[in-house]
């Protein structure tokens, strides 16, 4: 395969990825989209979701917490508010955190709306972590 995409994934806390890949699928605010080498210059915002990158037929997953996505000259930069590589998430811990988040949401249901929304967003993130981690369990 001749052309590759350069994927740079950075969060405020660190640079997570800097690798060559064949294809990227990302969760845009206006829907999921895929990027292949030779894509036109493009900039978009991302929502909470799962970023997939394929290299030599192998897929890898990243749990992504919003951010921005830019493609210029086969160079993809993902600025994530928060991100975790799927292979680094511990499934059991993720499930435990998900259960906690569910409880917190149930609790927040009786309180004001802002708290409820925050709890909801938290749960969404935890669900995502679980689903990403599960992909690595086989």
């Amino acid at each position: 395969m001749a052309e590759k995409l350069r994927l740079e994934l950075v969060s405020p806390e660190k640079q997570l990825l800097s690798i060559d890949v064949d294809e990227i699928v990302a969760p845009g605010v206006e829907g999921e989209f895929g990027v292949l080498p030779g894509h036109t210059a493009f900039l978009t915002a991302l929502r909470v979701g799962e970023l997939v990158y394929k290299n030599n037929g192998k897929e890898d997953y990243v749990a992504l917490e919003r951010g921005f996505f830019e493609v210029v000259d086969n160079k993809v930069t993902v600025l994530a508010e928060g991100a975790e590589l799927g292979r680094e998430i511990d499934l059991e811990e993720a499930i435990r955190r998900k259960l906690e988040a569910e409880k917190a949401l149930e609790h927040a249901r009786h309180e004001d709306e802002i708290k409820f929304r925050k709890a909801e967003a938290q749960l969404r993130r935890e669900l995502l972590r679980v689903s990403v981690a599960e992909k690595y369990k086989g």
Binding site: E8, V10, S11, P12, E13, K14, Q15, G28, V29, E30, T40, A41, F42, L43, T44, A45, F68, E70, T77, L79, E81, G82
Partner: protein
Amino acid sequence: MPGMRDIKRKIGSVKNTQKITKAMKMVSAAKMRKAQDAMNSAKPYALKLTELVNNIGSRVSQDVHPFLEVREDINNIGVLVISSDRGLCGAFNNNIIKSFLNFSKNISDKNLKVIAVGKKIDEFAKKRRFNVIASYTSFAGRIRYEDAVEIGEKLSHMFIDGEIDELHIIYNEFRSIVFQSPKTFKVLPVSIEKSDIESSDYLYEPSPDLLIKEILPRFLNFNIFSALLESTAGEHGARMAAMDNATRNAGEFIKKLTLTYNKARQAAITKEILDIVNGAEALK
């Protein structure tokens, strides 16, 4: 001449102090390395985000987001001042206090609202009766992005509600391990450096107007985050240098004291010999 016993006690106490300063220096060195790593890992994000803001910012008009709008009547000025929680770090906090006072002098006709991060500046500003509207501790040196987001969201609400018309940050910039200098810069309204990158064929989704609304709050949060990181790294650097100095001074002091001690000891011996000789003479 002080007695030998007193000098000996003094030497012991200085030695103890030296041990403490030496240990503090080691601890600060380790902490600084960690803080420096955190700072360096935030760099790629910083570069990219600034590039993005300038890129999109040059494509939208001023009125799409309040953060871009320069207000005509500026009455309330918010200033976020970052110091450390603890002392023993040389001129680190003093420098911040000095540039804070300078800053407040320059805008004395305006209403100054202080957001203090770190106990030192908080105590100082309250004692001097500045209007402190919020205070935070400096997060025990472990700065998480969420902490910056918390401050950022609060400030952005204040800015949008008109409680403050401008926001400045005063913090210690990390120039090198032993050199920090206070820096004051304006974060709100955001000033865009027009980029002349040819990007007419850039595809935006959603439109630049909507994107900038997403990006600007992040930009504020991140600016705060990186100032906090630099300040933390600087604090440990300053403390390391101060403790290094203290250790060296203690060493010199010990040398001097030992010299005095030996002199006193010799004088005592000489006196004793004289006594014995005189006694022997008298017996003859």
